[in-house]
């Protein structure tokens, strides 16, 4: 434990000057600086910089294979980036260098939570248990790291009760109260998606990263998801960063959109900016770079919202 704490200390910087790079939100919760990730000879993410504003819903979009999930994995500690810096700023002013934290500390200390593209619930555990596992840190403390808990002391019992209350509140919110005691793996797909988001929220995150939350949802479930995400943004101190292909979700709920293609940022702005950005259109339609330049010249746009990193 002492070693881990030491590393944490190292990774915790205070009074860091605000983000590098021009533009972007004024009060960022996450600053990604010159992030590069290489796998052998393949550069999945190349010199990417962007910011996530506090209290915003930011979308990370791009064609398949653009490197979005790789960015997520770097932010949430599953990959160690080849180069670059990822800073997370909590409200109190603590700053964490996420790329230096051990995997689990990204959630435990920096309070970044995530969901997965191919849903990772604990399938044989119940819905309620899934949520309680997410409250590991406070409950663990309350149980005196199991020593007091095993003796059945009342301090732990009340903590557990509070945990169940909190879980129950989330179950109400996502409409799964009736299924609380069923195995999570038995839920329909859309419910599993929402449960995974609720589980991530039970860790009280500062930043919630959602990897394609609307994938596989029907229009009604998609609309419910939008409501849920807005609720998270408005009622909790949680900023949202999401990867999404469903443009109806992205355009409706995002405050800001970052567009990736081939590991490079090609655009960054509000939904309205992105909607009209020629590079984005070109990227999605699969046009060559020269043609993009030609199109730009025709339209008379030479480097508008789109900033290509040098």
């Amino acid at each position: 434990m002492t070693l881990a704490t030491g590393i944490t200390r190292l990774a915790t910087l205070r009074d860091e000057p605000p983000a590098a790079g021009p533009g972007g939100p004024a009060d960022p919760v996450l600053i990604v600086d010159h992030l590069t990730m290489r796998f052998g000879g393949l550069t999945a993410v190349n010199d990417l910089s962007f910011k996530v504003g506090r209290g915003d819903i930011t979308a990370l979009i791009g064609p398949n294979g653009a490197g979005k999930t790789t960015v997520f994995n770097c932010i949430t500690g599953f990959y160690k980036p080849s180069e670059g810096m990822i800073r997370l700023m909590q409200k109190g002013g603590e700053t964490y260098l996420l790329e230096r934290l051990p995997g689990h500390d990204v959630n435990r200390l920096a309070r970044v939570a995530r969901t997965f593209q191919n849903i990772r619930l604990f399938p044989r555990m119940t819905v309620l248990e899934n949520l309680l596992v997410a409250m590991h840190k406070p409950l663990m403390k309350a149980s005196g790291f199991s020593i007091l808990g095993i003796l059945g002391l009342p301090a732990y019992r009340s903590a557990e009760k509070a945990g169940i209350e909190k879980a129950a509140a989330w179950l109400d919110r996502i409409g799964l109260t009736a299924r609380a005691d069923d195995a999570a793996g038995d839920l329909p797909y859309g419910d599993q998606r929402r449960l995974e988001i609720a589980r991530a929220m039970c860790t009280d995150p500062v930043l919630l990263c959602l990897d394609e939350p609307a994938a596989g949802l029907n229009p009604r479930e998609s609309a419910e998801l939008n409501t849920l995400l807005r609720l998270i943004r408005d009622e909790y101190d949680t900023s949202v960063l999401l990867i999404e292909h469903d443009m109806s979700v992205v355009m409706q709920i995002s405050d800001r959109i970052v567009v990736l293609d081939y590991g490079i940022k090609i655009a960054d702005g509000t939904p309205d900016d992105i909607r009209t950005d020629t590079r984005v259109i070109a990227a999605y339609l699969g046009v060559d770079d020269e043609e993009v330049a030609a199109v730009e010249a025709e339209v008379g746009l030479t480097g508008t919202q789109a900033e290509i990193p040098a």
Binding site: F39, T69, N73, F78, F116
Partner: protein, 305 residues
């Protein structure tokens, strides 16, 4: 120096046997990602098959040509052990595809326990000695104190290993089966969509692994002249160590790993302590798995999130 040379020859012989077994581990791991824990016991079964075939040929049929006996025993052992390999995969592993993570390994442990006790029940618990097939040695070097020798046995083992490995290499590199095997290894579903019979390819992989284990079993019997029902476990673990050391999934790695393990074991016994020779192999296994699980020639695994 002479002592060293002699130990080197001994180690190479032992390493050949480990390498042959290790290929079975590495191929199965490559294609379905499981540790075939029972492979060492398949090797032991093959040694018993070779033992009985040898006894029948020499005592009942009265064959006396050493080369002929050896070849027939080898072919019989390979054929019948292949059937074991096939049957085990079919009964104990194939139904488990898509089951939970540890199911195949637990099933393999079950097969391993079954095989060794099955042989104990049907053949008895005592060691089974056979008269040496060949006794001659070639003196490679001699001075007043030392002689460095290469026995015919050792020569046969190394030559057989080399020849069969060459044939095997051709099989997996140049034939449609080899291509199918590599395709299934990389993407089972895609391979199936392209018309490759995945089940048959996996079956054949087990059959090949078992056949090579049978070669090892026959050579083991030839070398040590004795076998018992419990002889699968330790050589099995050592061959697995060899496969891991060479880089699991890599065929040349398995052979290289086998030879390295054979050499280390021989030199350890010769220079340090023979009592702890198995400890040496187990320690290597632990150290490699902890510090370089991709081995010498293996590719590192990228965690899929």
């Amino acid at each position: 120096m002479e002592f060293f040379a002699q130990q080197f020859i001994n180690g190479l012989t032992l390493g050949s046997i480990y390498g042959l077994i290790a290929i079975g581990y590495t191929m199965v791991f490559g294609i379905i990602g499981m540790v075939n824990f029972a492979h060492g016991d398949v090797f032991m079964v093959s040694a018993f098959i070779a033992l009985i075939a040898f006894l029948i040929l020499t005592t009942w049929l009265g064959l006396s040509s050493v080369a002929l006996v050896f070849l027939i025993v080898l072919v019989i052992a390979m054929a019948l052990t292949s059937l074991w390999g096939w049957a085990i995969e079919r009964v104990a592993y194939r139904p488990l595809r898509g089951s939970f993570r540890l199911a195949p390994l637990i099933s393999a442990i079950g097969v391993s326990i079954f095989l060794s006790n099955f042989v104990q029940v049907v053949q008895g618990a005592r060691n089974k000695p056979v008269p040496p097939l060949v006794r001659d040695v070639v003196v490679l070097y001699q001075n007043e104190q030392y002689t460095v020798t290469l026995s015919y046995k050792q020569a046969i083992i190394m030559v057989t290993t080399a020849v069969l490995l060459a044939g095997f290499w051709y099989l997996v590199q140049k034939t449609p089966f080899g291509r199918a095997q590599r395709a299934v290894e990389q993407d089972r579903r895609m391979a199936a969509l392209l018309g490759i019979n995945v089940d048959r390819t996996i079956s054949l992989t087990f059959v090949l692994g078992a056949a090579l284990a049978a070669v090892a079993g026959t050579l083991y019997l030839l070398y040590y002249g004795v076998v018992s029902f419990s002889d699968g476990f330790v050589p099995g673990v050592k061959a697995f160590t060899a496969a891991v050391l060479g880089g699991i999934g890599s065929l040349p790695g398995a052979v290289i790993g086998g030879i390295i393990i054979g050499l280390i074991e021989t030199f350890w016994s010769a220079y340090f302590s023979i009592e702890y020779k198995d400890v040496a192999a187990f320690l290597i296994l632990i150290v490699v798995l902890i510090f370089k699980p991709s081995g010498i020639l293996g590719r590192p695994e990228v965690e899929k999130v």
